[in-house]
Every structure is written in C-alpha cells, then in structure tokens.
C-alpha cells in the first residue's frame, strides 16, 4: 500500500549531548521512514548513533533538532509528560538487559505494563496465545531470578507488546544471550512481525541478528550510511 504514511518518519534528526564540557553530536541529520508492519534492523558499530536513535524514538530522551513522527504523533518537541504518554500508548520497548522488575513475577511484570496504561490487568485469550508462542505460559509465576536469560527476554517482549503498541523498539535484544537463545528470540520477533503485523525496529551490531529483519539500514558517525 504505497499511499499509507510511514508509521515512523524521521527528518533531519539531530541530537547533541554533553560529555562533561564537550558537546557530542550523536545524530547529525538522520532521515528515515519505517512502513507499518515492517521489521527493520538498524546496524552499526559502537558510537554510530544507533542507540541514540533508539532513545529518541522511544521518547527516553528529547531530540535536539529535526522532526520525528510516530503513528501520526510528532514527538521531537514533546515535553517529558508527552514522551511518557508516548511510551505508555504507542511504543513497546525491549532492552538488552531485559529490565524486568526483580520483585515481581513474570505475570506481574506483564500486568504492570497494562496497569500503567490504565487497562484491566487481566489479558484476553489472544494474548494468552502470544504467551504460548513465546513459550513462557508455564513460567508466569516465576520471578526473574528463577528464569534463564532467554526466558527473561521473552517475558520482556511479552511486556512490550501486551498493550498492542504501534511500534516495538528492541535495543540489542540478543546482546546478553547465547546463540541458541538468540535464535529463539529473533525467530519469535520475526514470527510476531509476520503473524500479527507488529512493526519492529531493532538495533543491533550483529549482522546475523539483522538478517532476521525485512530490511536493514546501516549507521555510521551519526548518519544513515545505507
């Protein structure tokens, strides 16, 4: 559908942050379109700006200049409250370090995302099927410390998509996993994209991981290199 507007539209995005007294230009005019239902991998070496792009797209940090539109909402000029609302309603985030709440069970970790978004913490049968596909339906009553890294990351994925976000952002989702668990997680992301049409933008430095995506873009020195 060529007329459908991109779900993520980035134009001339710049981000400068301070490292001590030195200003560092992490993004130097990034422009990017992501189609609805696309699974995009952003690859690049350390310092290329891919993590900064992830932080801006997820609303964890504001842009310095340029425009970013996610599912029709311009986020570059949003204040803290606006960016918080964006994470609640539009964006699901998966981190390299899983970032599960250690005192809660897997089920509670997922439920709290629903609670924060103001929804009933009980999910329906459709999401139960997703949990089954993720292979964690029998691990829901365990706390993170009783789970393997792969299981924790799958719970983190479940938490990220429980509110049906417009986009799923994943930052090095396999960075802490062994090869076998990496394959499981990447296959699940691809399956999720193919079966539900979930838009996914994955940051990775690993070309093998990027190969699971529909499209790959490369970043270098704060710019899209191709």
């Amino acid at each position: 559908m060529p007329d459908t507007p991109p779900i993520i539209q980035v134009r001339d995005l710049r981000k400068v942050y301070q490292s001590g007294d030195v200003p560092v230009e992490a993004l130097r005019g990034v422009s990017l379109d992501v189609r609805r239902g696309e699974f995009l991998a952003v690859v690049g070496p350390s310092g290329s700006g891919k993590s900064t792009l992830f932080h801006v797209l997820s609303g964890l940090t504001p842009a310095t200049a340029g425009s970013v539109t996610i599912d029709g909402i311009g986020i570059a000029q949003l204040d803290e409250a606006g960016r918080t609302a964006l994470r609640k309603d539009k964006v699901g985030i998966v981190f390299q370090k899983y970032n599960l709440l250690p005192t809660l069970t897997a089920e509670e970790n997922i439920a709290i995302a629903r609670h924060i978004s103001g929804k009933d913490i009980a999910w329906g049968p459709a999401f139960q099927e997703v949990l089954k596909a993720l292979g964690i339906e029998n691990r829901l009553h365990h706390k993170p410390r009783a789970m393997s890294g792969g299981e924790q990351q799958r719970v983190a994925i479940a938490r990220a998509i429980v509110n049906n976000p417009a986009i799923l952002l994943a930052d090095e989702p396999t960075g802490n996993l062994d090869t076998q668990n990496s394959e499981i997680v990447l296959s699940l992301l691809r399956e999720l994209n193919q079966k539900t049409g979930q838009t996914i933008l994955m940051i990775t430095h690993n070309p093998e991981a990027a190969a699971y995506a529909n499209r790959t873009i490369r970043m270098r020195d704060g710019l899209i290199a191709g």
Binding site: A85, R87, N99, P102, S117
Partner: protein
C-alpha cells in the same frame, strides 16, 4: 530488612507516645482513685502544697478535734505522709487505723491484719507484688526494718501504711498532719460546708477542697508542665519517625533507581510512581503503628509487673487513632522528598544505574 527497621522505628515512636500518655493518665487516675477511696467528702491541706505533694507535715493535729465538733461532720481524721527514699513520688501514710477504717469502710485485708506492734507496716497488693513482699516479710525503709503485718487491696489513700505517731516521729513533726479528711453526715451539703470552712478566717491559711475538687486536680489539665512535657515527647517521636522514614525511603529510592527507570520506560507517570511510594509508606506506617500499639501493651505489662508501685500505665485506646495518624502523617511527609526526587529521575540515567 530496611523495611523492617523502618516499621520498627515507627512502632517505637507510637509505643513511646502511648506509653507516656498511658503512664501519665494511669498514674493520675490511680491517684484520683486513691483519694476517692478514702471515703471523705472534704480534704483540708496546708496552703502552699502541691496536689502531688504528700510531704509537708505541718497541719496541727488539734484541727481534727475542731472539725469533729462541727455539726455537719460525721468523722474527721488525719494522715501524715513521709516520702520513701528512692521511690518515685512514693510515700508512706501514717493513719489512725481505727478512724481511717471507719471513714473508708475499712482497709480490705487480702492477708494478715491491722498493726499489732510499733514496727508493723501495711502495704497494698501492688506494692507487695512489686517489692515481692508478703505477711511476715521484712521491709527496710529509712534504715529501719519493718514487719509486714498485712496486705490490703489497693485504692485507699496510699500503698504503704504506718501508725500515725510512727510517721510523725519519722517526719520529726509530732502533733502535725499532712492532710485532714472530713466525712459529712449529709454529703449533699459538701459545697455549703466547704464554703463555710473557707469563709472561716481561722482556717484562712489552709486549702479546703471537696473530694471532687481534689480529684479533678489529678488530671492532665491540673499539670500544665506535664502536658508540655508530653507534647515535647510526642513532637520528638514524630520527628524521629519522620527522619527514620525519610532516611529509609531515601535509601529505598536510591536502591530502586533502576526499577523506577524501568517503570518510566513503561510509561509510568510521576503521579503513578509517587503513588507506589506513598502506598508503600502507608502500609509501612500502618504496620508500624499496629506493632507500636502491641508494643505499648507489652510496656504496660512490664511497667505494671516490674515497675515501681507509684507509676501505673493504663491502656489508652482513644489515643490509638491519634498516634496512628501521627505516624502515617510523619511517614508520608518523610517519603515526600525522596518520592519527588524519584519522579524527577531522568529515565535513561535511572536505567543505567546499577
């Protein structure tokens, strides 16, 4: 562990307040009960003595005869008090046992009986319990050995009784009394008789009080300094509770910086995070307050079992809501600053906190 310590600090704060209020109320109530237990309608005291003072053996004994001759008076008798060394507000009362018994319907002996010899002493059950005395025991007071001849029910004038002349001799005040008690033939005439006695210029230097007036002085309102003291201790308790919770929550927020970052990454608003911290504090302070109430019951049992005979701690359930509210308010206030600091955390910085 940190949560447990915070709850314990709140419990101690609550228990401290309840114990102090219970002690002041209990001790004053017991004093009131003991005055009422005398059975008199009117009390005559030296002019300048405080209501809590039992010493000051300065009233002429011959006044008893004067009062006895008044037409409205059924019986008049006096007592002399002598402070017990090392006892907190404790004194022994010298009484004319026959007249005192007539006035107060008699001391009720739980064991033993009246004085038989000059070295005999009567104690009440609480004093006997706290000092582990029984009939036949020897009690050493004022460097003298006394023989416990009787143990009586508490609630009448004093916990320790001696023959009147013995106390007068101990106080080096022969022929003098600390207080005179008057029982009227018609108690309904108490106010009229009190007024008449007060109007008598010969009695101008003495305090003449109805027993109701005397009893009313044994209340917190009668002791402004005690009220101030209690207020100061309550204030200190609240400040200590506030500081402990502040420190505890500050540490908690630091420890949980990453968790707060995770919540923010999920889209939790400042109000949501503040709500979580405040709810935790509410549960913590209610738990602490309940533990404090239980602890105050333990201190009550300890005071009444092992403490001195002068201090009586009573249960003060009407103070439970106040102390609970104070504990909650102090704890919520102590959480406010760390909670505000938590919600201002930058999400990215919080997520990178280890």
């Amino acid at each position: 562990m940190r949560t447990l310590l915070s709850a314990a600090a709140i419990a101690i704060e609550v228990a401290m307040i309840l114990t102090l209020v219970g002690l002041s109320d209990g001790t004053l109530d017991e004093s009131k009960r003991m005055r009422r237990g005398i059975g008199a309608d009117i009390v005559v005291r030296p002019g300048s003595t405080s209501v809590m003072s039992f010493s000051g053996v300065t009233l002429p004994e011959k006044l008893v005869e004067y009062f006895q001759q008044q037409p409205d008076v059924e019986i008049a008798t006096g007592s002399a008090a002598h402070g017990i060394p090392g006892g907190l507000m404790e004194s022994a009362s010298g009484v004319d046992l026959a007249k005192f018994s007539t006035m107060s319907d008699g001391l009720r002996f739980l064991s033993g009986g009246p004085f038989q010899a000059p070295k005999d002493i009567i104690v009440d059950e609480r004093y006997a319990r706290t000092k582990q005395l029984g009939v036949g025991s020897t009690l050493k007071l004022w460097d003298k050995n006394w023989n416990v001849c009787g143990v009586v029910e508490p609630g009448k004038l004093s916990r320790v009784f001696l023959p009147l002349p013995v106390v007068q001799e101990l106080a080096s005040a022969p022929g003098k009394l600390s207080q005179i008690y008057i029982k009227l033939k018609d108690p309904s005439r108490t106010d009229a008789v009190v007024k008449a006695l007060k109007d008598n210029p010969q009695l101008g230097s003495y305090q003449v009080l109805s027993i109701d007036e005397l009893a009313s002085l044994f209340s917190i309102d009668g002791f402004p300094a005690l009220r101030q003291f209690i207020s100061v201790v309550i204030g200190l308790g609240v400040v200590v509770g506030f500081l402990v919770v502040l420190l505890s929550m500050y540490t908690a927020v630091l420890e949980r910086t990453r968790e707060i970052g995770i919540l923010k990454s999920l889209g939790a608003s400042p109000a949501y995070i503040m709500g979580i911290l405040m709810r935790e504090t509410l549960i913590l302070s209610i738990t602490g307050a309940v533990a404090g109430i239980v602890l105050s019951l333990v201190t009550q049992w300890t005071m009444n079992t092992f403490g001195g005979s002068a201090l009586v701690q009573k249960m003060v359930p009407h103070w439970w809501p106040y102390t609970t509210l104070l504990a909650i308010a102090g704890a919520l206030l102590g959480t406010l600053y760390p909670a505000m600091k938590a919600v201002r955390h930058d999400a990215l910085e919080a997520l990178s906190y280890d």
